[in-house]
Symmetry: C2
């Protein structure tokens, strides 16, 4: 019994594979600050559980395959605030942004087809595509350019007859980069000229600092039939464990076909949808408050990184991540060393190796992704530990 | 922008595609008894919501990719009652039995590979395999044989070099058939001799009537490394909307690889896992009570069907479905007619056309699947409506 080639070739999650080491050192009494995973410490708005507790839970019934109407309408209202209008059948609820991305990939690509993705990218894009035999073709972006896109020419030359779509997260995970309007318009042009779908992962929308505004791809005119927006409550509403995501597109033929995938798996958890419907009703004050909190955290991380000799990184404008080049030969080895060998008063930190966020072999080996998901006090402590750790590691 | 071949070739859910018609006639005031979908009317045990309400819900955090330890351990204890022992890493929690089946298919099969499935089968097997480019090869079973398996010879001749597994639900959806021990042993033999995985969908285990015992494939010796058991809380614990399923296998290499798929999609909804952990703790008295209730419903359905001229069906021994051949030319047309044109005092019923449960073209056109998921009073009323409807349709 040989397992499938597609599963054997799939990488272990670089974000989660070091977790057993962390679990072990924590059992031995060490405190670990987790900057390795995008799990915010912010409380989930209480409206979530209130809605569940007010729901009739006598029989936990199947929901609709397309999603609970209350949630679909909340999401429609959320987009409408920015003048982006979706009909009822232009929103499909999914098991997190994860399933939204897998379903979109299946619907757009046959085995062997390709999707362009600016790298470094959210590492699980490898999983959502690889498990259904679709290949990612990376558009390399560089720290020195703030991880902004290369020229149109450089992108277009990567397109082959098998290229079906361009996929990106904006604001970017792991880079924290927010696309400029001219970059979004360039993507639109490339997509139109080469007949590609645009898959815009906007789960960090709202996390835009320094007065920037995170613009949805849904605002760009003339590409409505080829734009697919991926949404999730995980980050914006600190409800990662709810596993509520969604697909938005004005391409009704696409949505009608993705609905078949939704029907096959019957529905998304009913209670979590009832709760999530309330989250999307939270007004702009909520988003602004969250944004301010993360901007403070970003400032702490960035100013400490600036202070450490040999560290290279650009100031991130959004999301809650930063990619930093460290003065080490191998970031993964350093991360393991920090867990196993180092502590400040019994405390240490856990980071993610950035190598897994690149598709091009050899890139990111000396880089880490830092998720600034802890409160400012813990972030200050964590960054102090990083600084001391690097000093000792290199001495 | 052309969509993928795999999505275009996927069928619409035959169970869910007639739902818009039902929705319309209900809006116009007609009462519809839903015998078309396996949504029981039994209350979800209150332990489910109690556990959720006692959980710390301040931050709805990611769960573990493999699942909540409390739920994994509950499931292990559930199997241990029958002497089936799984280690902690031999159980993976999934988004319903649906995701369990998709993940198992991806891990075992490359595009173009085949899985043997006795037909008629749970129609969504088409989705879980087709969406990842795997083909179902049907083993036709017949109503006149009570939908039991054909001879070993007849099954073996369907195997090709691309056949990777044999998949079946036991007790059977839509047939209600429970495999005899000699059939299970024949499957084990075939799998060993032809190096196949055995995917045993046991989400209806416990629904076994007339003194029969639903035996898990996990009890069959000598095939532990090739047996994969699919579980779910949906039916046994009437928690369809919780979307909690699981994969069980003693093949650690397989499980280690499926864990990569689990990691890519991060986790299953946290709260629902906390609730489901309590469901698996319910003792055999609960299962016995549920079984008695469904046996009563089965008796009502079967005795009425026996009474209607021209109806052919075998007495089902398990699950909560029966496949019946009706005296009509086209069952789907009849189902639509019952919804749109017929009622008894403003009430009608909705059934599922059985054609979608067959892979062989032409089979099942005059058959329906009846889900006896309503209380005995409603089932009596529903079956009376079916009888009257057939009389009028054929007059």
């Amino acid at each position: 019994m040989i397992l499938s080639k597609r599963i054997l070739e799939m990488q272990e999650s670089p974000v989660r594979k070091l977790v057993p080491i962390a679990t072990r050192v924590k059992k031995n009494g060490k405190k670990v600050f987790h900057l390795n995973i995008g799990q915010p410490d912010i409380e989930t708005p209480k409206q979530f559980m209130e809605a569940i507790n007010n729901y009739d839970t006598r029989v936990i019934k199947y929901s609709f395959s397309q999603g609970e109407p209350a949630l679909i309408n909340s999401i429609r209202d959320y987009f409408a605030r920015d003048g982006i209008i979706f009909d009822e059948d232009e929103v499909l609820i999914t098991n997190g942004g994860s399933e939204a991305l897998t379903f979109t990939t299946i619907a757009i690509c046959n085995p062997g087809d390709e999707i362009l993705v600016p790298e470094p990218f959210y590492t699980n894009y490898n999983g959502f595509t690889g498990e259904v035999n679709v290949n990612i073709k990376p558009i390399t972006t560089l720290a020195k350019d703030g991880f902004h896109l290369p020229s149109k020419e450089d992108i277009v030359k990567l397109i082959t007859p098998r290229t079906k779509a361009i996929l990106f997260s904006n604001p970017g995970n792991p880079t924290g980069t927010i696309l400029r309007l001219d970059e979004m318009e360039m993507i639109a042009e490339i997509a139109k000229e080469n007949d590609l779908f645009i898959i815009s992962d906007e789960v960090y929308r709202g996390f835009a600092f320094d007065g920037l505004k995170g613009i949805s791809m849904g605002s760009i005119k003339g590409i409505e039939d080829r734009t697919v927006i991926i949404e999730s409550v995980s980050k914006r509403y600190s409800a990662c464990g709810a596993r509520i995501g969604s697909i938005q597109s004005k391409n009704k033929e696409l949505m009608k076909n993705i609905l078949k995938l939704c029907q096959a798996r019957l529905c998304v958890a009913t209670l979590e949808q009832i709760g999530a419907a309330e989250l999307y009703k939270l007004d702009d004050n909520y988003t602004a408050m969250i944004k301010d909190e993360y901007q403070d955290r970003r400032d702490i991380v960035y100013s400490t990184l600036q202070d450490i000799p040999g560290v290279v990184c650009e100031k991130p404008s959004g999301a809650f991540y930063v990619v930093a080049k460290l003065p080490v030969d191998n970031a993964e080895k350093f991360i393991i060393w920090m867990l196993e060998e180092f502590d400040v008063d019994g405390q240490t930190i856990m980071l993610s190796p950035a190598e897994g966020f690149y598709a091009t072999p050899g890139l990111g080996i000396d880089e880490v992704r830092i998720a600034y998901v802890l409160n400012t006090k813990d972030m200050e402590k964590s960054m102090y530990i990083l600084k001391k750790g690097l000093e000792k590691y290199n001495s």
